[in-house]
Amino acid sequence: METANIAQNGRRLVTKNPMAAFLIVVGVVLIIDVVRQLATGDITFARILSLVWDGLMRGLVIGLAGIGLSMTYSILNFANFAHGDYITAGAFAGWATTYLIAGRFGAESSIGSLLLVGAGGSVFGGALGINVVSTPLAVVAGLIVACGFTIALALLMDRFVFKPIRGSGGIPLLITSIGAAFAIRYMLRFVFDPGTRGTTAAGAVPDIRPTIIDGSVVFTMHDLALIVVAGGLMLGVHLLLQRTKLGKAMRAMSDDQSLSRITGIPTERVIRATWIIGGGLTGVSGFMFVLWKGTLSWNDGWLLLLLIFAAVILGGIGSVYGAIVGGLVIGIVASTAVIWIPSGFARAAAFFVMILFLIVRPQGIFAGRSTA
């Protein structure tokens, strides 16, 4: 009786939703393969754990940056392709500050080199000994500047780029945002030079390495910092949206723009608030991302942007929790994909998951439970 039921359910799934059935089969195959790899010793349990941990950290960054993208996507109705470059801009602004303070305002190296975050290898982050324990002030100041700078940038871009054509629909705005993205990205490249720089000394970040089952897993202070900052801000956004009038107005606007205006919501003011919150979170995520991974380059934000889109779409556009959950899923996929496929394809795997999701469930996981 029981088996007949399962078979019937299975048949219904295959006929009604072949894609979902296919995905389930793929998932089962992947899990069996992990078990096989563990059994044959191709991979250790600790290795899987550190990949998952890595993915979680990456996911926090993606989720944090995704909140801003998701909010503007749902309230202003366009996919902002310049969002990735807000991340880079915030990171550069923040790190210039951190370098300046850690380099004691020119005592360690010339002010110009510090402000350009060591362009052309003139100062190395490792030499300044930047990390959250030994130079907490520099890191916190950088974080604040990254946040403030990105807010200013987002407001400025909105005022001069997006606001004049607010009413012309999603696609013209999208195209415009691509123009803005390239302008910002190559301006950063022009000012800060195309090199990738190391910002923190590799291996100098305090960490603990507990042995778990069959190997050691590394947890650093920067992981902790990222968790505290990202978690705190996510909680803050949650409270803001649920407890304040502004949050309620934002939710109303993402549902129906004209209706909100009729009911007396000052839509332009809400839009400004959206850019401020979104921009601030984006700048912080850019700064924390660089702190966590230890390198900085003009292309970082763009490379992250598609993953953020993946997360936002996965979670359902407009949903803040969706962006967070989507970010964690995409981060873990991108990190753990190397268990099954060559590392060159890890990012491709995350994009592939996004494409699959768009096809199977374009409304996202949290669709219909819009929160902001």
Binding site: F78, A79, S110, G112, S113, L115, L116, A119, G120, S122, V161, P164, I165, S168, G170, I171, P172, L174, I175, T176, I178, G179, A180, A181, F182, A183, I184, R185, Y186, M187, R189, F190, V191, F192, D193, P194, W302, L306, F309, A310, I313, P342, G344, F345, R347, A348, F351, F352, M354, I355, L358, I359, P362
Partner: protein
């Protein structure tokens, strides 16, 4: 309306009407295009002469300019089929270009070990023509695979899917796993981060040799047109008048001329497509897909066809573009190439073929090649000065009122600033002129003239009795 209708049935009628651009009125589209091109060339020549640019360099620049104009005009036309006609938002163009040129490379590179250069991987050693057909088909196939599921999506989702796809293509080209391998006795691969050396026959030479076949039968010589006419008469003839070997410059010109011919083919193909019943359905889909569906057209099929054809054309453009560059590396295929083509299309105006060609030409001349030419000219004039190596060194002297280092740094980094400029141009265009130069035109979908016949001037206000 019978089958005896002349060929001009589908002719776009608006090119017989006067058109005006920048306040100047032209009798028709052809004159306008010609005037635009001539003005551009004149500007380039004047700039070169005034500053005393060497003649050889100037001529070479003009050849390259033609090359870029043809390429961007073709690309804009192909994109116009997808976006302008059908409303498919493809921002993964570069992925299809990369597919085209890489597949051509794999098919046509000499077999491993027999090549002229010490390439790390070989190819199948097929003739270049087979390689090009293969590359075009591969790009079309990739477009088909992408289109099957993705075309049901909203425009912004399709945009994200296509750009993700183009990045997946780039990652695949970059990956070590696929960089080298042995398939059926051949050492093949995508070359990974090092890219591929395109050591197949030069496309221009291959083309001329192919054209030479009938002459070869008569003269009994191999590659008569190439060795006797092209090298023997044209190149050697010109080298009498110029110092140094002019072959590379002449090659540039000859190849650009070939591209212009292909561009003409593109234009005719897309204009006829646009005015055919097929094209009318595409435009109907762009305006309102639901209505088109309700009228009994299988819109999905039309969209897939339009997308696949556009992608195949983009593959061909990729081959024409990178096939003569000697080698390709994956990081050439960054999204900025897609961005270039979108700007070209938006300058010209989505939906208009003439506009696409004009947009491609304007983009190539003033946004793409222009700044590089300016950099070239300025550096020649200033005698190749050494620019500061970082922004700090460039800015610091400004405090002491010395802007020369900053100027030099700006010129030296023209390629970065150029993209900033393009971004700003795109933003301004979207603000001021989202329809581009010619996108505002109404293209009449009907295949029969809708105007009143010129002879019948009186209105049929009396109930049409005169018709008796």
């Amino acid at each position: 309306m019978t089958d005896t209708e002349p060929d001009g049935e589908y002719a776009q009628r608006d090119d017989e009407e006067a058109v005006s651009l920048f306040g100047i009125t032209f009798p028709n589209d052809g004159t306008m295009l010609l005037a635009l091109l001539l003005t551009t060339y004149a500007l380039y020549m004047i700039a070169g002469f005034v500053i005393g640019f060497p003649v050889r360099g100037l001529v070479n620049q003009l050849g390259q300019l033609t090359f870029w104009i043809a390429l961007f005009a073709m690309s804009a036309l192909a994109l116009n089929l997808q976006w302008g006609y059908t409303g498919l938002f493809n921002i993964g163009i570069v992925g299809f270009m990369a597919t085209g040129v890489y597949v051509t490379a794999i098919l046509s590179k000499p077999v491993y070990g027999t090549g002229t250069s010490a390439a790390q991987v070989g190819g199948l050693g097929l003739p270049l023509s087979v390689g090009i057909v293969g590359g075009v088909l591969a790009a079309g196939l990739l477009g088909f695979l992408a289109a099957l599921p993705a075309l049901r999506l909203r425009a912004d989702y399709l945009a994200i899917v296509t750009i993700a796809l183009s990045e997946i293509v780039r990652f695949a080209l970059l990956s070590n796993t696929l960089s080298e391998g042995t398939v059926g006795g051949y050492t093949l691969g995508l070359g990974g981060g090092n890219g591929l050396i395109l050591d197949f026959t030069d496309p221009l030479e291959a083309l001329i040799r192919a054209l030479s076949l009938p002459f070869d039968l008569v003269t009994g010589q191999d590659g008569f047109l190439w060795t006797e006419i092209y090298i023997g008469i044209i190149v050697n003839g010109i080298s009498v008048f110029t110092p140094g070997n002019p072959k590379s410059v002449i090659d540039t010109f000859a190849y650009a001329a070939v591209l212009l011919l292909i561009l003409g083919g593109f234009y005719v193909l897309l204009r006829r497509t646009g005015n055919s019943p097929f094209g009318r359905v595409l435009k109907a889909i762009r305006e309102d897909e639901d209505v088109t569906n309700a009228l009994g057209k299988n819109t999905n099929q039309f969209k897939i066809k339009s997308f696949v054809v556009g992608c195949a054309l983009m593959g061909l453009i990729g081959i024409l573009w990178f096939g003569t560059q000697g080698s390709v590396t994956p990081n050439t295929f960054r999204p900025r190439i897609t961005f270039y083509i979108w700007i070209a299309l938006i300058i010209g105006g989505a939906g208009s073929n003439t506009g696409s060609v004009m947009g491609g030409a304007i983009f190539a001349a003033f946004l793409f090649q222009g700044p590089r030419y300016a950099k070239n000219v300025i550096e020649t004039v200033l005698g190749e000065p050494s620019a500061p190596s970082s922004f700090a060194q460039a800015v610091a002297p400004i405090l002491s009122a010395d802007i020369v280092p900053f100027f030099l740094y700006t010129v030296d980094n023209m390629r970065q600033l150029q993209l900033v400029l393009m971004g700003v141009v795109l933003i301004v265009l979207m603000h001021r002129r989202p329809d581009g130069l010619l996108g505002h035109r109404k293209e009449i979908a009907s295949s029969v003239p809708l105007d009143r016949p010129a002879s019948n001037k009186s209105l049929a206000s009396d109930g049409g009795e005169t018709d008796e």
